[in-house]
C-alpha cells in the first residue's frame, strides 16, 4: 500500500480566546498506514486532543486551521461541514476520554448505538437494534440482548467505555481516534479495554491512540509521535523511540514515566525556535534560531526535530542520555 490512510502535514490549529490566540496545535506531522496503530503522546496541554479534533473538524468554528490532513486520498482540512459529517463516525470514529459524559443519559445504550448506525446507514430500526446487540456482544458486554435497553447510568465506567467503543465501531470505520480511552478507568479495567482495542486493531482498523500513558503506548502502538507544546518533536517505531529516545524532551518524558527524573518547574515555552530549549539540558544557541527540522535518528523511520541531529552536528552527547526506561514487549 503506497499512500498512508491518514497523513497530517504541518497541521496548525490556533484558537482565539479572551487571553489571546492559543496555538494549541502548532506544526504536527505524522502518518498512519492502513491497519497501523499510532500513538500520540505528550503531556497534558501538548495539543493531542486538539490534533484529533482538528482532523475531523470538531474544533470551534473560530479556530484557524492551516496545514493539511489527508485521509484516504481526500483532504479533510478546509472540507465543508456536510462532507465532514459523512466521514465522522462513518470512516473516522472517535472514542473519548470520559465515557460517562460521552453517553447521553436520557437514551438507552441501544438507542445510542442505533443512532450512530442510522446516521450513516439506511437501515430499519429493527436492523439497527439487532446490530446494536451484536456490537454490544462484540465489545464484551455480557447479556447484550437485555442490556441493550439499559441506560448509561446502569453501566460501570469500564462498560460505558465499551459502549462508547461499540458506538465508534458501529459503522466499521477505517480509522479510530481514541482520545485517552483508558485514562478514566481503573487499572484492571484498563487492561481489559486495551485487550479489546488491540483486538480491534488486529482485525484491521487503524487507530490513532492519544495518551500520556507510555505503558499503554508500549502495549498497543506500532509507531509513536511525540508532541510538545503543539509541535511534533519526535516520531518513529515504538521500539526505536522507547528503546532509544532521541529528542531531549522524549528522553525526559520516558524517564519521568519510569519514575527516574524529578519534575522541573515549567516556564512559558518560547514561541519560536525549539520550544523545549529553556528546559533542555543540551540547549545550544542554535536552538533559538529556526524551528528545527526532522532529522533521521539511527533506525529507519525514526526522526527527531532537534538541532543536534542535523547532519553537521554530532548527536552523541544527547544520545548518551538516552536510556530505555523499560523493554518494549509487544506480541504482534
Amino acid at each position: 500500500m503506497s499512500d498512508p490512510l491518514l497523513s497530517v502535514e504541518g497541521l496548525r490549529t490556533h484558537i482565539p480566546t479572551e487571553g489571546g490566540i492559543v496555538r494549541a496545535v502548532d506544526g504536527v506531522s505524522f502518518e498512519i498506514d492502513r491497519g497501523e496503530t499510532v500513538a500520540l503522546v505528550g503531556e497534558s496541554g501538548s495539543g493531542k486532543t486538539v490534533t484529533c479534533e482538528t482532523i475531523t473538524g470538531l474544533v470551534p468554528e473560530t479556530a484557524t486551521v492551516t496545514g493539511e490532513a489527508r485521509f484516504d486520498g481526500e483532504t479533510l482540512t478546509g472540507l465543508e461541514e456536510n462532507a465532514l459529517r459523512r466521514i465522522r463516525g462513518n470512516r473516522i470514529a472517535h472514542v473519548f476520554q470520559n465515557p460517562r459524559s460521552a453517553l447521553d443519559p436520557v437514551y438507552t445504550v441501544g438507542d445510542q448505538i442505533a443512532e450512530a448506525i442510522t446516521l450513516h446507514r439506511d437501515v430499519r430500526e429493527r436492523e439497527a437494534r439487532e446490530r446494536a446487540v451484536a456490537l454490544l456482544g462484540r465489545v464484551g458486554i455480557p447479556n447484550a440482548g437485555e442490556r441493550v435497553d439499559d441506560h448509561p447510568h446502569e453501566f460501570s465506567g469500564g462498560q460505558c467505555q465499551r459502549v462508547a467503543i461499540a458506538i465508534a465501531i458501529a459503522c466499521e470505520p477505517a480509522l479510530l481516534l481514541a482520545d485517552e480511552p483508558t485514562t478514566s478507568v481503573d487499572v484492571t479495567v484498563q487492561a481489559r479495554l486495551l485487550a479489546l482495542l488491540s483486538e480491534l486493531t488486529a482485525s484491521g482498523t487503524s487507530m490513532l491512540l492519544v495518551t500520556h500513558d507510555l505503558r499503554v503506548v508500549a502495549t498497543l502502538a506500532d509507531r509513536v509521535v511525540v508532541l510538545y507544546e503543539g509541535q511534533t518533536v519526535e516520531r518513529g517505531p515504538t521500539e526505536a523511540v522507547f528503546g532509544r529516545p532521541a529528542h531531549p524532551y522524549t528522553q525526559a518524558l520516558v524517564e519521568s514515566a519510569a519514575g527516574v527524573s524529578e519534575g522541573t518547574d515549567r516556564e512559558d515555552a518560547p514561541a519560536d525556535g525549539c520550544r523545549f530549549r529553556n528546559e533542555c539540558p543540551h540547549a545550544i544557541d542554535a536552538c533559538a534560531g529556526e524551528r528545527p527540522a526532522f532529522e533521521p535518528v539511527g533506525s529507519p523511520g525514526h526522526a527527531a526535530a532537534c538541532v543536534h541531529y542535523a547532519s553537521e552536528r554530532d548527536p552523541s552527547e544527547v544520545l548518551a542520555d538516552s536510556e530505555p526506561a523499560w523493554t518494549v514487549n509487544r506480541e504482534r
Binding site: 470538531l58 459523512r86 465522522r88 463516525g89 462513518n90 473519548f96 470520559n98 439506511d122 470505520p173 484491521g204
Partner: protein, 430 residues
C-alpha cells in the same frame, strides 16, 4: 476496514447481515475504494418517510381542504350545526401538530412510553391527575359535539343539583317537584339536570362540558403551538448563537416587557372580545420565559461530552440539538409547560369572569360569574315582582361547580407536571 461495499449498496441493504468485524477479509481492504454516494438523496429519502412529517403533512392538507370546503362549498355550517370559527381552526391546527409530534412519536417509541407509564404508576397522585386530564381531554374534545349548543329555557332556570333545594320562587317550572308551603316552598333537584341549571336554564353539566372545550382549546394551543415555539426558539438561539441568538432574545425581551393582558384589553376595544384574540395575544406574548429558560439550559448542556460525541459520530448541529439537547432539557420544559398551561387557563377564565370575552365561548369563568353578582339579582321579572330576589348563596352551585372543576384542573396540571418530569428522568428509576 473499508465500508464502501455496504454503504454503496443501492438497496440500502442490511448492515446487520454484513457479518462481524473480525471476519471481514483482510485482503479486501486495499482493493475496496471509497465510493461516492449521494448521501443527500439517502438522507432525503429517509427524512421524507418519517411518520411524523407524513402525519403532519396529511393533517395540514386535510385541514386546508376542510377550510376551502368550508369557505367555498359549505354554507354557514360545516357539518350539522357546526359553524367553524377561527378558534376552532386554531384548535384543529394545534391538534394536528400534537398528533404528529406527540402521538406518533409516542406510538413509535412504545417501549420508552411504557417505561415512563410504569414509573408513573408508582406515583398515585400523578397517575390520578393524568387520568383526570385524560377525562378532561376526552370530554372537551367530543362533549360539545355530542351535546350541541344549549337552548335558552327560562322555565327551568336555577334548578338545584340532585339532593339540594332552592326557594321555589327562583324557578318557574320545577321538574323535580315542589314541597313546603307559602314562603317556604322549595324546588327539588331532578336527574334531568344532575348538577342543576343556571339563570338561562342551561344544565350545569352541559356548561361544564362546553367550558371544558374552551379550557382544552387553551391547553391544546399552548402545548401544541406556543410551547413548541418557545422551545424551538430557545434551542435555536443557544445552538446557533451569533445574530440568530441576538435577534430571538431581543424579541423575547420585547414580549417580556409588554404585559399581554394590556395588549388584550387594548385590542379588544378595536376588534371586539373573542377567544381567538385572547389565544393569539397570549400565545404570542407569554412564552418568553420558557424560551429564556430553554436557552440557558441548552447553553449548559451544549458542553456535555455526548454533544461532542454525537457530532463526532457524524450528526449535524441541528440533529444534535433535536436528538440530544432537546430531550435533555425536558426536565426544564415539562414543568414549565405544566405551569404555563394552568396560568393560561386561569387567565382565560379570569377574563371571561370579568366579562371581557365573547359570550358565545362558554367558559368556566363566565359561568362562575353567572352564579355571582348582578345576573342573579336581576334573575327574572317574576322575582322582582314578588320582591324575592335569589341571592348567590341560594344558587351556590352555579358558581361553585365550575370553580371546583377549574381548581381541580389547575391542580391536576401541576401534579401531573411534577410526576411526568420525575418519570421522564431515567436516573430516577431505582
Amino acid at each position: 476496514m473499508d465500508d464502501a461495499p455496504s454503504a454503496g449498496r443501492p438497496d440500502g441493504g442490511s448492515v446487520g447481515r454484513d457479518g462481524a468485524f473480525g471476519d471481514s477479509p483482510q485482503s479486501d481492504r486495499g482493493g475496496a475504494r471509497f465510493e461516492r454516494i449521494d448521501w443527500e438523496a439517502v438522507e432525503e429519502r429517509r427524512r421524507s418517510v418519517r411518520p411524523e412529517r407524513a402525519v403532519l403533512a396529511v393533517g395540514l392538507v386535510a385541514l386546508s381542504a376542510l377550510a376551502l370546503y368550508d369557505r367555498y362549498v359549505a354554507g354557514v355550517y360545516l357539518v350539522g350545526t357546526w359553524n367553524v370559527t377561527a378558534v376552532d381552526w386554531l384548535f384543529l391546527l394545534a391538534l394536528v401538530v400534537l398528533l404528529a409530534y406527540g402521538v406518533v412519536p409516542a406510538v413509535r417509541n412504545r417501549r420508552a412510553v411504557l417505561r415512563v407509564a410504569r414509573r408513573l404508576r408508582s406515583r398515585p397522585l400523578a397517575a390520578a391527575s393524568l387520568s383526570y386530564l385524560g377525562l378532561f381531554f376526552l370530554v372537551g374534545l367530543f362533549g360539545p359535539g355530542l351535546l350541541g349548543s344549549p337552548t335558552l329555557d327560562p322555565g327551568v332556570q336555577y334548578l338545584p343539583p340532585v339532593g339540594e333545594t332552592v326557594p321555589a320562587s327562583a324557578t318557574s317550572d320545577c321538574p323535580g317537584g315542589v314541597t313546603g308551603e307559602g314562603f317556604d316552598r322549595v324546588c327539588h333537584g331532578t336527574w334531568e339536570y344532575p348538577l342543576g341549571t343556571n339563570h338561562r336554564g342551561h344544565g350545569m353539566v352541559h356548561l361544564l362540558v362546553l367550558g371544558a372545550r374552551t379550557a382544552l382549546t387553551v391547553t391544546v394551543v399552548a402545548v401544541g403551538l406556543v410551547v413548541p415555539l418557545a422551545t424551538v426558539v430557545g434551542v435555536a438561539a443557544a445552538t446557533y448563537g451569533g445574530w440568530v441568538d441576538s435577534l430571538l432574545m431581543a424579541y423575547v425581551d420585547v414580549q417580556l416587557s409588554v404585559p399581554a393582558i394590556v395588549i388584550y384589553f387594548v385590542s379588544m376595544f378595536y376588534i371586539g372580545p373573542s377567544l381567538f384574540l385572547l389565544l393569539v395575544v397570549f400565545g404570542l406574548l407569554s412564552w418568553g420565559g420558557i424560551a429564556r429558560l430553554v436557552r440557558s439550559e441548552v447553553l449548559q448542556r451544549r458542553e456535555e461530552g455526548y454533544v461532542l460525541a454525537s457530532r463526532a459520530a457524524g450528526a449535524s448541529k441541528a440533529s444534535v440539538a433535536k436528538a440530544h439537547l432537546l430531550p435533555n432539557v425536558t426536565n426544564t420544559v415539562v414543568p414549565a409547560v405544566f405551569h404555563l398551561v394552568p396560568v393560561l387557563i386561569l387567565t382565560e377564565a379570569g377574563i371571561a369572569f370579568l366579562g371581557f370575552e365573547d359570550a358565545r365561548a362558554y367558559s368556566w369563568g363566565e359561568t362562575i360569574a353567572d352564579g355571582l353578582g348582578q345576573t342573579v339579582s336581576a334573575a327574572s321579572p317574576a322575582d322582582r315582582f314578588h320582591n324575592l330576589a335569589v341571592t348567590p348563596l341560594d344558587v351556590w352551585w352555579v358558581s361553585a361547580v365550575p370553580a371546583v372543576v377549574l381548581a381541580l384542573t389547575l391542580v391536576a396540571f401541576k401534579l401531573a407536571g411534577d410526576g411526568i418530569r420525575d418519570a421522564l428522568d431515567p436516573r430516577g428509576e431505582r
